[in-house]
């Protein structure tokens, strides 16, 4: 009876179910700006995949409390836990990333116990692994690699779904291997490790190499104590970094594989779509396979035949009337407001699809409340699948 619709987007539909049905796809990465519903989207896709028979592990980063509860996640213990209440033959394990713990595990796995102990106790390491921004991106990447290794070895999962950190640049994790590489191959690390390798000798060698100015600068800025703390840390972690870097390279290659699918998440707002455009370009440049765009929080349009202008004109005619007339006027103005929002969203979505022709899109209407339980996630999954 009622005409209800969503944005009419001039783009091929993003068919989530055919991605989930494709057994060769083994990694799905959800990325997008902060606050667009990325984690919820990742969880909803994971649940849907599990209920379609896939054996799924979903790695979430900093999920909202109630979303975590919806999946039965109460503690941040860095281990995938089975989600109860899945129907069908599949399974769903969920976990929250514990950045520090992941880092500690990397250190322990790649160093002998004595050296690991020295690293874990280093004040520079402790700050780096728990307090500083940026570490999360590296660790998310590391964890994905670990999960995939485990899946290959034990056959535990046939699909891993990851959420990306809400970084200033949500794709920073793509740069992790290259940055680490340039750091490890660079001369800078040699300068940093020089003091630890044997006081004057290292520095002297570097000075001969023409870096006297540099070491002078460093000790002037950092002070000798910090320089030696960092030097000790870098020297100790050198081998660990090497192992970590190999893994990061492998994970990067994995992301370019056709068995991976990227889902860019946005809302029909200017900033979120601008970020989405950037992600789409960036993924293309890096040769990462893009499945399409999920547009969350779309204003549902009811009664498309009646424009906002018509509703306001009619409401104006009802002003100063009786109770029913003023009620009707209020309802018409409410309709006009919704139409106004919807047409702005429509305009923004059109700009995106015009700039990125051929990229599949699916839309999810704005929901009154956050997801509280599995049923709520299931409904989001259903809406996602109805492209």
């Amino acid at each position: 009876m009622t005409v209800r619709g969503q944005l009419s987007v001039d783009a091929p539909p993003l068919r989530i179910d055919s991605i989930l049905g494709d057994r060769s796809i083994r990694i799905i990465v959800c990325t997008g700006a902060g606050g667009v519903g990325k984690t919820t989207t990742a969880a909803a896709i994971a649940l849907r995949a599990a209920e379609q028979g896939r054996r799924v592990c979903v790695l979430t980063i900093d999920p909202a409390r109630r979303l975590a509860q919806a999946m039965g996640l109460t503690t941040l213990d860095n281990t995938p836990r089975a989600v109860e209440g899945i129907t069908g033959a599949g399974s769903l394990d969920a976990m929250m990333l514990d950045m520090k713990r992941t880092f500690d595990e990397v250190v322990e796995a790649h160093s002998d116990p004595e050296r690991a102990q020295a690293i874990l106790a280093n004040p520079f390491y402790q700050a780096l692994s728990s307090s500083f921004a940026g570490t999360q991106e590296y660790m998310a990447m590391e964890k994905l690699g670990q999960l995939r290794t485990e899946a290959d070895r034990d056959g535990t999962w046939d699909l891993i779904i990851v959420d990306t950190p809400p970084a200033r640049n949500a794709l920073d994790f793509l740069d992790a291997p290259a940055r680490l590489g340039s750091f490890l191959d660079g001369r800078f690390i040699r300068v940093l490790t020089a003091p630890a390798r044997g006081a004057g000798r290292g520095i002297g060698k570097i000075a001969v190499m023409g870096f006297g100015l540099f070491t002078g600068v460093l000790s002037k800025i950092l002070g000798a104590q910090v320089l030696s703390d960092i030097g000790n840390f870098v020297a100790a972690i050198d081998t660990t970094f090497g192992g970590f870097r190999e893994r990061a390279d492998a994970t990067y290659a994995l992301l370019q594989d056709l068995g991976t699918s990227f889902v860019v998440v946005a809302t029909p707002e200017r900033d979120a779509l601008r970020e989405a455009s950037y992600f789409v370009e960036r993924l293309k440049a890096d040769g990462m396979p893009l499945a399409g765009l999920v547009l969350n929080r779309v204003q549902v349009v009811t009664l498309t035949e009646m424009s906002g202008e018509e509703a306001i004109a009619s409401a104006d005619r009802l002003d100063d009337g009786d109770e029913i007339e003023s009620l009707t006027a209020a309802l018409l103005r409410l309709h006009a407001q919704r139409q106004q929002i919807a047409s702005r969203q429509q305009h923004l979505a059109e700009r995106f699809t015009a700039a990125h022709a051929g990229i599949p899109v699916t839309t999810v209407p704005a929901l009154a409340e956050d997801v509280h339980d599995l049923q709520g996630l299931r409904e989001v999954g259903q809406l996602l699948a109805e492209a």
């Binding site: 009622t2 921004a133 549902v300």
Partner: protein, 344 residues
């Protein structure tokens, strides 16, 4: 005295001159992603610039959000005027680039700018600004501190207020507190001294950290958690900006009916027909009823979340949703609204 359209606004109380946050020089604006952090930071810079003041709007996430908001080409890393405020004030902008901030830092504190190219060649600049997590934040907060210290020194290029469009709520405490981490690592020496200096501005009454939220569950929860974190780190919390609120379109009685689905649809259809709607009136009434129900659910949610905000017992500034989106005109409107709520 200027005659501007703004002074004609009844909300524009010229007589109130007392500032809302006496002694605060650095306004840090954080909030959940998507809540309109950059918009509020810009409106705040504009509101604080009224009446001949000069404010600086800083951004640190490299997104060129200020340029987009003020509708200009991407801004370089220099202080540049982007808008005038009513009464002759000016808003300046500075998108801080970590690379440049590092070179600045070397120059200001060590007179070592010429070392920059050497550092760059061997990858040290890259290391400091992208690889070493946290150092970037040290540079960015350091720059904000330097701008505040200009005020203290009565420098000719000092601003009356600095507004920092900061990282989102989830990261804000760590971002602002990065220097106390650093001073813990570097226990003596120049870095230690610098870190202490930055913290003496940031964790002091010279700074106010404002949080932008929406009346939705997750953003409010993040705000509550964020305030807790800020307080635990001894960082000064300013106000809460409740953004994108929608006007109450229905009365309490009407909302009850809308919620229960008992709106008199037949009478509404008749009234709509009398008002000349061109679509089938019964269809119109049914659709309006459905929309009213969704609206009621939204109002309930907002009321619930509003209560949680009120419990925080902090100065709260409520701003409306601008249905057409934010442009320069909307920014001036929001700034005026903030003025009318005593922001100056």
């Amino acid at each position: 005295m200027h005659t501007s359209p703004w002074t004609a606004d009844p909300d524009y109380a010229e007589t109130v001159t007392q500032t809302r946050w006496p002694g605060v020089a650095l306004h840090v604006v954080s909030g959940k992603g998507g809540a309109g952090k950059t918009t509020i930071a810009a409106a705040l810079a504009l509101a604080l610039a009224h009446d001949g003041k000069r404010t600086l709007l800083m951004e640190v996430e490299g997104r060129q959000g200020i340029a987009q908001l003020f509708d200009t080409a991407p801004l370089p890393y220099t202080e540049r005027k982007v808008a005038v405020a009513p009464g002759g004030g000016e808003v300046w902008a500075l998108p801080v680039d970590p690379h440049e901030a590092l070179l600045d830092y070397l120059e200001i504190f060590y007179n070592l700018r010429r070392a920059g190219s050497v550092l760059k060649k061997i990858g040290a600049i890259d290391f400091a600004t992208t690889i070493a997590p946290g150092l970037r934040d040290v540079l960015l907060t350091g720059k904000a501190c330097e701008l505040v210290r200009r005020i203290d020194k009565n420098a000719p290029d000092a601003y009356q207020a600095i507004v920092l469009d900061a990282p989102p709520t989830g990261r804000i405490a760590k971002f602002l507190n990065v220097n106390s981490e650093v001073s813990g690592i570097a226990k003596v020496g120049p870095i230690h001294k610098h870190a202490e200096l930055v913290m003496s501005v940031i964790a002091s009454p010279r700074t106010a950290v404002h949080l932008v939220t929406l009346l939705e569950e997750m953003p409010v929860q993040e705000t509550v958690d964020g305030i807790e974190e800020l307080r635990a780190d001894g960082l000064p919390v300013g106000g809460i900006f409740v953004n994108m609120t929608r006007p109450a379109m229905l009365s309490a009685d009407q909302l009850v009916q809308a919620r229960a689905g008992t709106l008199p649809l037949d009478a509404i259809a008749a009234a709509a027909a009398a008002a000349g709607v061109r679509t089938d009136p019964a269809l119109v009434a049914a659709a309006l009823g459905l929309e009213a129900r969704e609206h009621a659910a939204r109002v309930d949610l907002e009321t619930r979340e509003r209560r949680r905000i009120d419990e925080l017992d902090l100065p709260t500034f409520t701003l409306p949703m601008i249905p057409d989106g934010i442009d320069l005109g909307a920014l001036y409107e929001l700034a005026l609204l903030l003025r009318s709520k005593g922001v100056r």
